[in-house]
């Protein structure tokens, strides 16, 4: 008897639940859609959205904090010390710039969009924008070079640094030589 009962309840439940399901779907046929017609209509991303990186190179003081914080090593920074006679200016946050930044490359293909580089920056020059449509045809186009120093400027800065170092080295050598001279004199005078 139990088998007969399960047989008939199975049939009844099958049809009944199918009808309930169909009622649910037909109701949805008349509700408005929740999708938008991208790319004609684009949603506005929230202000904290983390997408493509942007570096305001004028504010960069070359401290290398972002590059050290990056977990996938996608930021490459090279700096050249500036000599005291060069005035690189002040960033918008009030920091004095002391380093030239000839190379500031971000390989956005490697970037994992974790924003760990944004937090340590003292001048807040590296930010995550809300741009997410930046596909390229060639992979090397995804390496963004933010530095705006020309070859001539880089060469000039290196020259100046080399000269300044040489002068400093020469001064040091002269001072050491003088000190070496002074010692034997003292030694011999006693």
């Amino acid at each position: 008897m139990n088998a007969v009962k399960t047989y008939f309840t199975g049939i009844w439940k099958g049809i009944f639940t199918a009808m309930i399901g169909m009622k649910t779907t037909i109701r949805h046929l008349f509700t408005p859609a929740v999708t938008i017609q991208y790319p004609d209509v684009k949603l506005k991303l929230p202000e904290r959205a983390r997408n493509r990186l942007y570096v305001n190179i004028d504010d960069c003081i070359g401290c290398d904090q972002c590059s050290m914080a990056c977990p996938v090593d996608c930021i490459t920074i090279e700096t050249i010390k500036s000599t005291p006679d060069q005035d690189l200016g002040v960033t918008s946050t009030g920091h004095k710039k002391r380093l030239h930044v000839p190379v500031f490359d971000i390989d956005i293909a490697k970037c994992c969009y974790c924003a760990l580089c944004v937090y340590p920056c003292p001048t807040e020059c590296i930010v995550m924008t809300d741009v997410f449509e930046f596909s390229e045809f060639e992979r090397h186009n995804l390496i963004y070079n933010y530095s705006r120093m020309t070859e001539a400027e880089i060469a000039e800065a290196r020259e100046k640094l080399k000269k300044a170092e040489e002068e400093a080295a020469a001064k040091k050598a002269a001072a050491a030589a003088k000190a070496a001279e002074a010692k034997p004199e003292e030694g011999s005078s006693t």
Binding site: I20, P46, C114
Partner: protein
Amino acid sequence: MTENKTLPTEYVTNPDEIKTSIGKTLRTDEMIINMGPQHPSTHGVLRLEVVLDGEIIVDVIPHIGYLHRCFEKHSEHMTNYQQVIPYADRMDYLASMCNDWGYALAVERMLKIEVPERVEYIRVIMAELQRIASHLIAIGTYGIDLGAFTPFLWCFRDRERILDLFEMTCGARLLYNYIWVGGVSHDLPPKFVERAKDFCTYFRPKIKELNDLLSFNEIFIKRTANIGVLPADVAINYGCSGPMLRGSGVNWDLRRDDPYGIYDKLEWEVRVGKGEMGTIGDCWDRYMVRVREMEQSVNLIEQALDKLPEGNVQAAIPKRIRPEVGEMYVRTESPRGELGFYIISDGSTSPYRVKARSPAFVNLSVLPEISRGAMIGDLVAIVGSVDIVLGEVDR
């Protein structure tokens, strides 16, 4: 098949012999079929070698490792403990908040720091929202595996609301890097509380709709009840956790039994499978545990939103994380089960060893046990009910 060395020999060399009427014998052999790494069902790159006798499964051998990305090795080479968190996100990419929290909790316990109460509340809200999102995917893809295409899209529509909430808070939709060691990266934005409450009121009727369409549909019940029955003692012996364990009737939930955060201050119930539509521990029970857990998560979120205290969420984030030499194992309840992090520190600023005990990996190990004797059509239902994420299985 070229990889016979992985098969136990008894299956390959034990054919049945059938005597036909004219005296000849027909050898029947088992067929070995590959449900290869490229699956139409959306579980990721998992290779299942299925040994079939006609339509009945004799053995299932899962082959994993297609998504191995050396998370544990990478963590040893990071310059500090905070840098590991983006990597931990990517393990179980459908439940990133819970990964972050597990790891951050482990490091916090090693450093013996206490986080502000506001941070704890925020973490619970995020983890429960993440639990709902993850279960929505599990339910949606389960429906699609069984041929019901519509619930999948409805689940994703609801999940979009949750991802909008996350994007509002931390800027990312899937891999958040939000829960840091000692706090969270951003405080909640101004409109978060009211939008989250709106979401809760929006979502409750959707669960009812889902039940109408899928859970109590007779065809769905016929496909999942009494299939893949996992007895409670087998589940415990294999180390299953999460909805797999609760579906088998074992009343064990780490949020209540090994509490972390402020779960002990909120009121909620643990949902356990009762064998309503078939035996305890079948696929339907596991599926229904997930649906009911979503309801409980909504309760938790509403309570936490009401009780949210004020505070500075970044007060306890340490400048330098340098735990003393030692080891720590911390387990949390991720949507898939018990997610454990075992960290060994050698006194420097980067970890010596990070091991992640992934729940999906352990749950997957029970697959051969529960699918013996089922048919091929059932295998899809069983794999779907285990709810694996290959990022977590392979790390």
